[in-house]
């Protein structure tokens, strides 16, 4: 391939958290990433390091990824202390190396939270999110027997707001960036999506109570309104969804 306009090659020092399993001790290891094209994505930069490690007979860095287009929520790590790296509204797989400069040092760590156990290197277990959804993050309808799609009117504004909340990809950046490792943005987004739609109303109370209880049982931290989650969220989901969750929860509890 020919060089793209504006494409440069940079060298980086990369410090990556390496840990073989959940119970063994981990450490930061340093690698040199050479001739990294600024058009590469962050994960492609890791691919380059991994190819080299493999050829040297060493074990490559384990990291989660799948769609590589910012929608599956599989990827994610702390890059220089920020969830998904320095760019706003961007997942790690969509972060491009043009946002780094030659000779930068990049520290990469896994998401850290009691509720997300470390699996290996940068891979963590986020099944806690699935458990929260299982507690009530759905509308209870069986297949078949639904009324015509247009029988349920949804005001455009409600649909848009619900969509804003539903854009959550469940990556865990909110928990990772929250000083308290709280999952309120994740839960708030799901509760909000259904609270805003007429279809979600019948179960709204039950849902809010059950999901918050599950979240608490899984030992996520408590929200103290630091707004770090909103700033780190690759889908830029607003903390107004947390306020809505608070409202729904209190409404369900007291009224």
């Amino acid at each position: 391939m020919t060089q793209e306009k504006g494409e440069k090659s940079i060298n980086l020092t990369v410090k990556v958290w390496r840990q073989e399993g959940p119970v063994v001790k981990g450490r930061l290891e340093t690698y040199e990433a050479r001739n990294i094209s600024t058009n590469m994505s962050f994960l492609e930069m890791l691919d380059v390091i991994n190819e080299e490690l493999t050829l040297e007979g060493k074990e490559p860095i384990a990291f989660d990824h799948d769609c590589r287009e910012g929608i599956c929520g599989m990827c994610g790590a702390m890059v220089n202390g920020r969830a998904h790296g320095p760019e706003k509204g961007t997942t790690l797989c969509q972060l491009h190396m043009r946002h780094f400069s030659d000779r930068d040092t990049v520290v990469i760590e896994p998401w850290r939270s009691r509720a997300f156990k470390l699996v290996r290197d940068l891979v963590v277990d986020r099944s806690a999110f699935d458990k929260i959804i299982q507690a009530g993050g759905y509308i209870s309808v069986n297949t078949g027997g639904s009324p015509d799609g247009n029988a349920i009117l949804v005001p455009q504004e409600a649909a848009e707001k619900a969509m804003d909340a539903a854009a959550c990809i469940g990556c865990g950046a909110c928990v990772a960036s929250c000083p308290n490792a709280s999952a309120m943005l994740f839960v708030g987004a799901k509760v909000s999506q259904f609270a805003l739609l007429p279809q979600g109303k019948p179960e709204a109370e039950k849902r809010a109570l059950a999901m918050v209880r599950e979240m608490d049982d899984l030992r996520f931290g408590n929200c103290t309104n630091e707004r770090e989650c909103e700033a780190a969220c690759p889908k830029e989901i607003s903390i107004t969804n947390i306020a809505r969750l608070n409202r729904e929860f209190l409404k369900a509890s007291f009224f």
């Binding site: 391939m1 020919t2 060089q3 793209e4 094209s37 058009n39 994505s41 492609e44 380059v48 190819e51 493999t54 050829l55 074990e59 490559p60 799948d66 769609c67 590589r68 287009e69 910012g70 929608i71 599956c72 929520g73 599989m74 509204g89 961007t90 491009h96 043009r98 699996v119 277990d125 986020r126 099944s127 999110f129 699935d130 959804i133 299982q134 507690a135 993050g137 759905y138 509308i139 309808v141 069986n142 297949t143 078949g144 639904s146 009324p147 799609g149 247009n150 349920i152 949804v154 455009q156 649909a159 619900a162 969509m163 539903a166 854009a167 990809i169 469940g170 999506q193 279809q199 979600g200």
Partner: protein
Amino acid sequence: MQLDSKQPGGPLADKWDNHIFDLKLVNPANKRKFEIIVVGTGLAGGSASASLAELGYTVKTFCIQDSPRRAHSIAAQGGINAAKNYPNDGDSVWRLFYDTIKGGDYRSREANVYRLAQISNQIIDQCVAQGVPFAREYGGLLANRSFGGAQVSRTFYARGQTGQQLLLGAYGALSRQIAAGKVTLFTRQDMLDLVVVNGQVRGIITRNLISGRIEAHAADAVVLATGGYSNVYYLSTNAMTSNISAACSAYRKGAVFANPCFTQIHPTCIPVHGTYQSKLTLMSESLRNDGRVWVPKTPGDKRQPRQIPESERDYYLENRYPSFGNLVPRDVASRNAKVQCDADKGVGETGLAVYLDFEDAIKRDGKDVIAKKYGNLFQMYEKITADNPYEAPMMIYPAVHYTMGGLWVDYNLMSSLPGLFVLGEANFSDHGANRLGASALMQGLADGYFIIPYTIGGYLSGASIEKVSTDHQAFRDSVQAVEARIQKFLSIKGRRTVDDFHRELGTIMWEYCGMSRNDENLLKAKERIGELKGEFWENVLVSGSAGQFNQNLEKAGRVADFIEFGELMVTDAMARKESCGSHFSEAFQTEENEAKRDDENFCHVSVYEHGGDNKDPVCHKEPLVFENVELTQRSYK
């Protein structure tokens, strides 16, 4: 081998209803006793798991990712079709059926496609009830947009994230059944083999991706919904773990494979820009609603796009296909882009791109309207390319995107192996030689929500299924074979990485078995893949051990299967001596360079049976009979 498609008799419109009535039912109290394994949690697998569990079956569901919500379906952007005719523009079940058959260049079954069109409307109802936030009009009614290959607006969408929202709907339904204890979920599991006992499919062998443990799981029936195999080409729009391994294991165990060479090349992707690239990104087809495709009229014109005056631009799709314009089907749009680039009219640094321009749309509707429709796509484009599509036109180029081929299934979605059902992109059933936009989501959900719940009952109530546990010899043999293969990967200790092999396979496939095919190239491909396969088994380097989280090892298995499968694709491409839909064989084209079918000799599904290791596959044919539509030369002029 007798391939019975089991299409019911009677008038087209009544076939499905009649069939449902004819299918035997499983007594509600007995459903609990039947165990069903579902592999895959995409739209097809997720919806199937949930619906089967709702009926009372005991379901075990498997996926590779750490959560069912991350299946590749999540990435679908544009929308889902249904014949609701809400916009009052003349749509109907018949028209959707007809468009799909025609779009597929008459290489799919009438009965299947008609059923798909019928079910399409129920899917929308179901998803709305689940709380999928579809786009709405001001009055609160559902909104629609247009997609390629259709002259009506029948596509429902949730911004540029329709697949995500539909999948989250199915994931919600699945989660509800997990909570109810009806579905047991196994995440981070890689299916590596299929177990057949006495001619019936009775289970699977998986590798636990965290511990590396090889596990055996038994059931009364197995449903595969493992998605497509575009990653044969290394660079594709598919997710990194999309694979052929699950389907390949079924193929090796005797399930036959249909139309392997039918791969769709999507016209609007972000062009390749480096050898390190790991993945291509799709720009939804919906962009062609408002974007205009063009190239400079003069070959080699290197001016900036905005400096090229209107009179020197060639809006080649609008000019060649006045009635469909920029909304011609994908195969047509892709091929035309290649023709332009081959004529040195390609743009960008590599010359392998055409423009998709929103200038007129922004002038007409204003930036806000365009931003509302495509904002997230524009943003994605800018993130990747650092260019702003509001100001300069996008550059796009075709990329491998979808595979119409898949495991052969009958009308019940059962493969040639009793007890093995195949849903979604993993089967071959509904799209013929080319899939129309927004119809994969429709098919995945139709299969999972509304077809398999009926047809699997028909099988379970009719077949005599003995009790089998994982202690059975067939399971033990399978486990052993899987472990031996893993040990083989680890013991080679060669000098080339798995990715390196994958990249080379991709290059071979793209160059010689890609958008446009000829015998010479296909022969070359066959030869090179053979060599690559030989080298792989002698020179691949897989680090780490079997008993650990080992992404290298995972990939090794997938690439080994891709290589083997690549051969089958080439074989099929060579055997199909006609052009149809996505399969463009240079020797068969009309004077206007359109695909030229040979209905006399090739109006069939090519079905391959595994011939044994290192032996040629055996080709069977399922003739396609058209009773309701007339086969015509596809024209979008």
